[in-house]
Every structure is written in structure tokens, then in C-alpha cells.
Amino acid sequence: MSRDSVLALQDLCVYFPLKRGAFRRSRQFAYAVDGVTESVGRGEILALVGESGCGKTTVARAVLGLTKPTSGSIMLQGVDMAQAPHKVRQEAGAGVQVVFQDPASSLSPRMTVHDIVAEPARTRGRPDGESLKSKVLELLDTVGLDTQHLWRRPHEFSGGQCQRIAIARALASDPYLVVLDEPTSALDVSVQARILTLLSALRDARGISFLLITHDLAVAQCMADRVAVMYLGRIVEKGPTHAVLSNPLHPYSVALLASVPSPDPTQRSGAAVLGGEVPSPVNPPTGCRFHPRCPQRTDICSHTDVRLREVSDGRSVACHLAPETPVGA
């Protein structure tokens, strides 16, 4: 873990209790996130990928402070968000912002664009009035909107424009880390590309780090410096984007890549699509969590748990069968 990391997760676990009766304490938990260790460096874009229900959004919510972690630690710029004094935590937390998936519900329908964008800046004690307005205009300009949009409300904008407003809002408090929770999933492909270009430009211009949550490997590929693949609450493989996506080592990553539709019918891979469903996070499988669906499982997979181990420079994989030194790495 580099010392320059703005976000460091150490063995993060988030369990949700189930079936809370009026008088009974719950004994069952959904293991939404189960031991995630990861870090994001300054100006780095880390993509968390995986299918729905794998816990990637829960990681994001924990980082944002919207969900309390069950155990493990979250360090934001070296501040432990579980233990540091309130003031220090507030200061560190204020530099983390979020862009949600659905811009229609992440912007208040009752507020004007000006008020939406100004809200985070106001809580940081910026003066009202003209200086605030010029700051908002500057932010709108950064994301490609202008003065004529200032006093409108979100319902007057298209999805892509709303997402630009959400990005402007996220930038308003001069954040060092922005969590992007499926930032382009609700948008048309052409709009997606423009938003992603905007985000990349912001990273280059301002040195902001991004934690990108997505199920879209194409988005991860064009944005991220590093990728972490999640399955059932755990990271099963991580490493530099290019290495992981061009030469996946974990059978799940292989299957995930194979499931991406190819535009060229002659290039279709013969790889089998995974059978079965994602097991319930309430009763995760013993041993390797992926073994019931794994095409290459052996005896050891079903009874021995497997942890991430480093296989080459910056690449880790959680699989019994992964070679010590990957081919072509």
C-alpha cells in the first residue's frame, strides 16, 4: 500500500443483520462485504467491477459514510474514519464526494441548479452571494454547462446534463476523492463517452482520485488505472487494468470478460457462460466462494478458503489454481 493513498480499506467487512423481529436479536447476517483490502492513490482511478449483488456498491457506501462498517478500517487521507475525533473525521469526509447512477434521483427536484451545485460549497463555510455564484458558474463551465442553466430545475435537463450537474456538485467542495457509482449506466452510449471523457479530463486537471463502481468492463477499461474484480463480497482479482482485462487469471474474471458481447461475430469466444446463480450472501459457499460455479474447480476449492496473493508486480488473485507467475505478465 503506497503511503500516498487517499483511501485505504483494511479488511473492510459490512454485514447486514437479517430478520429483525420485535424481540429477537438477529443471528443471521448477509455478508455483503467480507474482508476487502484496497487502496486508491492520489490521482488514481480504481475500478471495482463485478455483477450486481457482489458488494461493490456497499463498499462505496461504506467509504461515503452512509453505511457503517461491521469491522475493518477505512482511512481517508490517513484519517481512520472509525476512531479519529469528530472534527478530524468531518474534515476528511468533506473531501469525499459522490456521483450516483441515476441523475434523476440524485438531484433534488425542488432545487435550482445553482442551489444544488452550491450546497456542498456552502457547508464548507463559503460566503453566500456573488462569490458563490461565480464559483458555481465556474464549476458549470468546467462540466460544459453555462449561465442560462443556472436557475433551472433538474427536470428541465436530459440525463447526460443532469449527470454533468451532479459532477459539478461533486467538485464544489474541492474533493480529493470522488466515488462514481455506476456513473454512466443510466445514459445513452454516446452520452456515456462524453461523460467519461469529462471525468478523465478532470482527473488530469485536478488530480482527483476516483473510485469507480461499475459492472461495465468497457467503462473500466477506458477509465481505470487499476481494476479490482469483486465476487460475493470479496476481491477475487486485482491489478493494472490492461493486465487484468487482457489476461485474467481468476476463472471468474475470465467468465466476466467472456460475457461481454463482442461486436464482431467471427470473434466470439467459445468460452462457456457461467451456469447457476450468484449464491446467497447469507450462506456463502465454503472454501473458495466461487467454487460452485467454477468450471475448473478441484477438491481443494470446496473446503479450503483462499486469500488474495500477489502473483506478480501489482497483481493479486484469490484462486488455488492460479500460476505463481502468470504467462505474459
Partner: protein, 275 residues
């Protein structure tokens, strides 16, 4: 607002309510016999049928029914307003706290409302008034006690659904304080439904208050109150029908107009019609 006034029935409702308010305010100038409106009896002219001198006849004490109805117009809207304001004052904060904080606080507050709602509300109001003594003020208090849980529930429901909206979550991520989040994002979401619900309840509250007066647990004689007047005219309904009928008609018109206003507000504030 513009939408509300484009609805003709709602306009009629608003107009009638304004008329009733004005009549109540100007009662001393409008009533032909202001003294009798305040309760002075006139035993020489008992049970006179509607005629040129007494347009709506006189009652068993010889008082002009029209004057009494005009004076009685002061009570129901004030009563309804006071009860609803009381309900909002108790119900909105409790519902908001329950919905926003959730967990044990929520459980506690909602179980209390369950207890209140499990009771037949009119019976509860009767019991309360009988306990604290009949008067207009006590009627209002009893009705507030019976009615606030509805508002607590309504506000709690809206708060719960608004709190998990992403724009509220991103406000919290931005470090906006709880109080500000509630004020800026959650209360505005509750205003529409609460206003509609209150305006629809206004008629029901007016009727309940009059019902308590009718059974002798509200306004006391010689106050001119429509429910009480109906009760006073009840023994003579066959011989002197006008004593009970005209207050009842006044009541009917007022409650109808509050319901028209409520329906109009509901349509006007429907999110589908504005955004």
C-alpha cells in the same frame, strides 16, 4: 396556485369558505338581532316559523335562528384550524423524528400512534372531554389528541422514503448537518401531502367538533354553535323543523366547501400535474 384556481369546484369551495369566514368576522353587523345571536332570549316570540321579520324563524327561547347561525359561523373554521394546527404541531415533528432516525425511536413513536389509532376516535374524544370537562377549548384538545397520529404516520412514511433518496444521501455525504437536511430536503417533500391531508380532514374535524357539541360535550349554551343548535332544535323537529334544519344546512355547505377545496388542492399538488 394557478392550477388550483383553474379548478372550478375548488374555486366554489374557496369562495364559500371565504364567505363563511367573512360572515363570522362581521357577525355583529350582519346579524339582524345581534343580542339574540349572543344568547339573549326573547320569550314573546317563541317558535315563530320563517317570516319577514325572522327569515329563518325563531327557536324555543324566541331567538332569531338566522342571527344565531351567523354568530355560529365563527366557531367551526377556527375550531378546525386550531385542531389541525395542533395535530401538525405534534404529528409532524414526531413523525419526522421517527422516520429520520428510525430504529428504536421509530418503534416507540409508532407503537404509541398504534395505541391511539386502535381506539375508536370519537369514543376517545368523548371520554377525554368527559374527563377534562366540556368546553370548546377542551373539545379542541380532545380532537388533537385523537387526530395527531394520522399526521405522524403520514410524515413518517414520506420521511422514510425521502431519506433514502440519493439527493438526500449526497447532501449527507457533503457534510450537511441533520437539521439542515431535514429542513432543506425532507420537510419540503412532506408539505404537499400534509396540506392536502389537512384540507381534506378539515371537514371531518368540523363535523366531529359539532358532534361533540351536539351530545353536549362541546360548546355550552347559550353559545351559538351549529351542533349545539341542532341539539336544541331536536325535541321540536316535528313542530318547528327550522330550528335544527338551518344550522344543519349551514354545516353541510361549509363541510362540502372544505372538501371541494381539499380535492382541488390534491389535484393541484399532484406531482404528475406540475412536474
Amino acid at each position: 396556485m394557478r392550477l388550483l384556481f383553474s379548478d372550478r369546484l375548488a374555486c366554489v369551495g374557496v369562495a364559500l369558505i371565504v364567505v363563511v369566514l367573512m360572515v363570522g368576522l362581521l357577525a355583529p353587523y350582519l346579524a339582524p338581532y345581534p343580542e339574540q345571536g349572543r344568547g339573549q332570549s326573547n320569550l314573546t316570540e317563541r317558535f315563530e316559523a320563517p317570516n319577514g321579520q325572522h327569515l329563518l324563524g325563531t327557536d324555543n327561547y324566541g331567538r332569531d335562528v338566522l342571527s344565531r347561525i351567523i354568530y355560529g359561523a365563527r366557531i367551526p373554521l377556527v375550531m378546525g384550524g386550531a385542531v389541525l394546527i395542533g395535530c401538525l404541531g405534534v404529528g409532524v415533528p414526531l413523525g419526522g423524528v421517527a422516520g429520520y432516525y428510525g430504529g428504536r425511536v421509530d418503534e416507540a413513536i409508532m407503537r404509541v400512534t398504534d395505541v391511539f389509532l386502535a381506539f375508536p376516535s370519537v369514543l376517545l374524544a368523548i371520554a377525554l372531554v368527559a374527563f377534562i370537562g366540556p368546553s370548546l377549548k377542551n373539545t379542541a384538545i380532545a380532537l388533537i389528541i385523537c387526530w395527531w397520529p394520522w399526521y405522524a404516520r403520514l410524515v413518517r412514511g414520506i420521511t422514510v422514503s425521502t431519506r433514502t433518496r440519493q439527493y438526500v444521501e449526497s447532501a449527507r455525504v457533503s457534510g450537511v448537518s441533520n437539521l439542515t437536511v431535514v429542513r432543506r430536503h425532507i420537510l419540503p417533500a412532506t408539505i404537499g401531502p400534509v396540506v392536502v391531508s389537512a384540507s381534506l380532514d378539515l371537514g371531518a374535524v368540523i363535523i366531529s367538533a359539532a358532534a361533540l357539541s351536539f351530545i353536549g360535550l362541546g360548546a355550552q349554551p347559550p353559545t351559538a354553535e351549529w351542533g349545539l343548535m341542532m341539539n336544541e332544535g331536536r325535541p321540536y323537529i316535528l313542530d318547528a323543523w327550522w330550528i335544527a334544519t338551518f344550522p344543519a344546512l349551514a354545516m353541510f355547505v361549509l363541510v362540502l366547501s372544505t372538501n371541494l377545496l381539499g380535492d382541488g388542492l390534491r389535484d393541484a399538488l399532484d406531482p404528475r400535474s406540475i412536474r
